[in-house]
């Protein structure tokens, strides 16, 4: 079982306490009505599907209940970092080829 560090609880907790919540840092368009169908489809469904380091949202649902962001390698399942929702992506991760 994986241990995931919840940035709010500041502790490594077992994987089964968490729920995956999709790719992180996808901002909702400020004015959806102004978007064309394709742009709206891209916002709703098109994801980077990265092979390697992937930035994603998780929720510590059976713990403190908070959403947070995590950088996980999709090949090895290793968590490179976890950080609070709303924080910018850690600069150390940008150099390692995180897309988008």
């Amino acid at each position: 079982m994986l241990l995931i560090t919840c940035p709010y609880c500041a502790a490594a907790r077992p994987e089964i306490e968490f729920a995956y919540a999709g790719e992180a840092h996808i901002a909702r368009p400020a004015d959806p009505a102004a978007l064309g169908d394709e742009a709206w489809r891209d916002y709703l469904y098109i994801r980077s599907n990265t092979r390697g380091l992937h930035v994603e949202r998780w929720r510590h649902i059976n713990g403190c209940g908070r959403f947070f962001n995590a950088a996980r390698d999709t090949v090895t399942d290793k968590f490179a970092a976890t950080y609070r929702a709303g924080d910018a992506r850690p600069s150390a991760l940008l150099s390692e080829g995180v897309q988008r």
Binding site: Y8, R13, P14, G65
Partner: protein
């Protein structure tokens, strides 16, 4: 009419003298409090407790217990007769909007005590109980059942689990007790 469901009433797990005792905790009132942090002090006064401000912290005095489960969520155990009065005091003294929900009948309390308590719980809890500080609590998963686990000290735990999952947790505890009794 509300029909009270007490899944585990009348059942017992044979204890292992000096090593493990699994018992039903006495009935109590359980309240879930949702509140912005600025109203914490006033709410604590109304409930007769100090509401902790860090996740996992516990404030305990006698039969009263308050656990900080999340940034705006507290789980409060009070003596059974005090729930209504606490509700009225909260309504009268609160300084900010809040939600106080009585979930007394939703859950059942199980006390797990003795030197083998950590071993028994670790057999179906993935959370590292050895490193959990005494006098703390957390929401976690017991096998597949969500539960709140309180660690009073190294040999005394309390499980708060939903009535509908209680039977499963109870049978796990019964199986583990047999294994510990037989030194398996």
């Amino acid at each position: 009419m509300i029909q009270e469901c007490k899944t585990l009433q009348g059942t017992a797990i044979p204890g292992i003298p000096g090593r493990l005792a699994v018992t039903l905790a006495p009935d109590c009132a359980r309240l879930v409090l949702r509140l912005r942090p600025e109203g914490r002090a006033a709410a604590g006064t109304a409930l007769g407790l100090t509401l902790p401000d860090r996740f996992g912290e516990v404030d305990e005095s006698g039969e009263r217990l308050a656990i900080c489960l999340g940034p705006d969520e507290w789980f409060v155990l009070l003596p059974e007769c005090e729930a209504a009065a606490a509700d009225e005091r909260m309504a009268a003294t609160a300084t900010s909007p809040f939600s106080l929900v009585d979930v007394s009948h939703r859950e059942v309390g199980i006390a797990v005590c003795g030197p083998a308590a950590t071993l028994a719980l670790s057999s179906f809890c993935a959370f590292d109980l050895e490193s959990m500080p005494a006098g703390s609590a957390t929401r976690t998963i017991l096998d597949r059942a969500p539960a709140v686990l309180v660690k009073h000290d190294a040999e005394r735990y309390r499980i708060e689990v939903w009535q509908s999952f209680a039977d499963h947790v109870w049978s796990l505890l019964a199986a583990v007790s047999r294994e510990i009794a037989l030194d398996i």
